[in-house]
């Protein structure tokens, strides 16, 4: 009943992954970098569900749940770190976090 070719989903996921990668590489704000990482993980989820649906195998969908759990865990820890840095330095721009570069 589903007539969309497999390649379309994979292509879409690939484009989404690329957009996320571009975001990580070009933006300076830690929170926007984190959002771009979430885009990348979403594209991975899309890939997994597409494969899972075309194989008729559930393990891909199970994997997606674990990716979501890990994304949530990373969000909690990551924002705590961002918050701690903000308390100390009043900035969340990663290129202003530069004590370590010399």
């Amino acid at each position: 009943m589903n007539e969309i070719p497999q390649g379309y989903y994979l292509l879409l996921a690939g484009v989404l992954f690329t957009i996320g990668t571009i975001g990580v590489l070009t933006r300076r704000n830690a929170i926007i970098i984190f959002m771009s990482i979430e885009l990348m993980l979403n594209s991975v989820n899309l890939t997994l569900v597409a494969f899972s649906s075309f194989f008729g195998d559930s393990s891909g969908q199970i994997f997606v749940f674990f990716v979501m759990a890990i994304a949530a865990a990373e969000a909690a820890v990551g924002l705590a770190i961002v918050l701690a840095l903000f308390r100390l330095k009043k900035t969340i721009y990663v290129d202003e976090a530069n004590i370590l570069k010399y």
């Binding site: 984190f34 494969f51 393990s59 891909g60 890990i70 990373e74 820890v77 701690a84």
Partner: protein, 490 residues
Amino acid sequence: MANETILMLPLYLIGFFSLAAVGLDPLFSKNKKVIYYLSLIGLLEAAISAGYALYLHTLTPAPNIEISYAKNMVSTGGMAYFFDILFCLSGILILLSSPRYFTREYKELSEFYSLILLSVSGMMIMAHSANLLVLFIGIEIMSLSFYILAGFIRIRIMSVEAALKYFLLGAFSTGFLVYGIAMIYGATGTLTLSVIQLSIQTNTINSLYLTIGIGLIIIGLSFKAAIFPFHQWAPDVYHGSPTVIAGFLSAAGKAAAMMAFIIIARAIFGGLSQNNFVKDLYVDVRLVLAVLSAATMLIGNITALVQKNIKRMLAYSSVAHAGYLLMGVVAANERGWSGILFYSTAYILMQIGAFIVISLSERNDEQNLKISEYRGFSKAHPYLAAIMSIFMFSLAGLPPFAGFFGKYYLFTAAVETGYVWLTIVAVISSLISMYFYIGLIIKMYFEDPDTQPMVAESGHAVLALTLSTAGVMIFGIFPSLLMDIAKIFF
């Protein structure tokens, strides 16, 4: 055949003790000694049970065969137990040396022990994984606790910055890793490593997805192991995080990432495939890894030459050591795999040992870390200077220390498989590294001090230093002790 409970006991024990440490921490918030000894006992017991399981495993007729349990989720191979012991050992070394350091620098130790135990349990889950999902969760448990440990001193800007850098780049690399796993799933239709191997042998795969997947997994794991184009985070993170923890991250984390390389490489390229495409791919992947390995060694050692801070110097040199370890993956034969096992052991002992010595001589918010401040170190602390020299000789790869034989096995493995040019590059970069390792020793012994000598209050760190020095010496003089065990796993 030993029964499943005994074979799985290391995982049960580490899980039980790490959860116990988490649960009991608030109850003993005044008396941290209880949790300290509980964690030490937990790591020791896990290591001993892994040793016993390893012994049982060597008694089986075919010790190089891995057996899967729990619905093909965990495997019990000799390599898994070997790395279990290694990770527990590194955890023990860190636990022994950290309480004094943290009470001096930070006055607080809450949840530290539980985090160390939890990260060790993550690495052990990785070691036992027979399924890409379990491997991935293990990697994430390890990485997540590493981010937290790097930012453990949350009132120190450098520490929090290190945590942020580590977190952002770690999460970025997780994206690549998990996309690679998804592509492998798309190529083979399964996540179980043995079934992946089977379907590659029987040629029921999509070769395009497999190629993309392998490439993405190499990128993801290269980030975790700090291998050349993805190594820039390593010096910043190891410099910024608290000193003892930097030793743990750089040694145990690197060993774990290398272990993930071994697990995935053996699953995909392990069986002799009838498939010409996979054979060609194998040659290409090894060539790419060889180039990465050569570049990693050279870049790491050359940048380490110009560093003025000792933590940064060791951080760059740890990048170079990741290059040496990768040579074993390039060789991909019995000698290469067991060489990685040997060198990981030696590297964990000497790297953590060196960082413990640094943590003892460090004062007041990361002062006394310049290499020039180690002038005349031997006059103030003759024993510490002697121990540090042993670690430096071993890191430089001079006999009769463990680092020499680790390099020897890896280099000969690369020569055996025809990568002579890689070995030449490795030898050249080891020679470059002599300059800064020996330079530190010369500063400690043959120059006059220009600062006041400091008092080192070591506490249990003495025990950790004794352990690691003894290990470096013993495995350097009798390398066959370790090598004979490591060989039978492959």
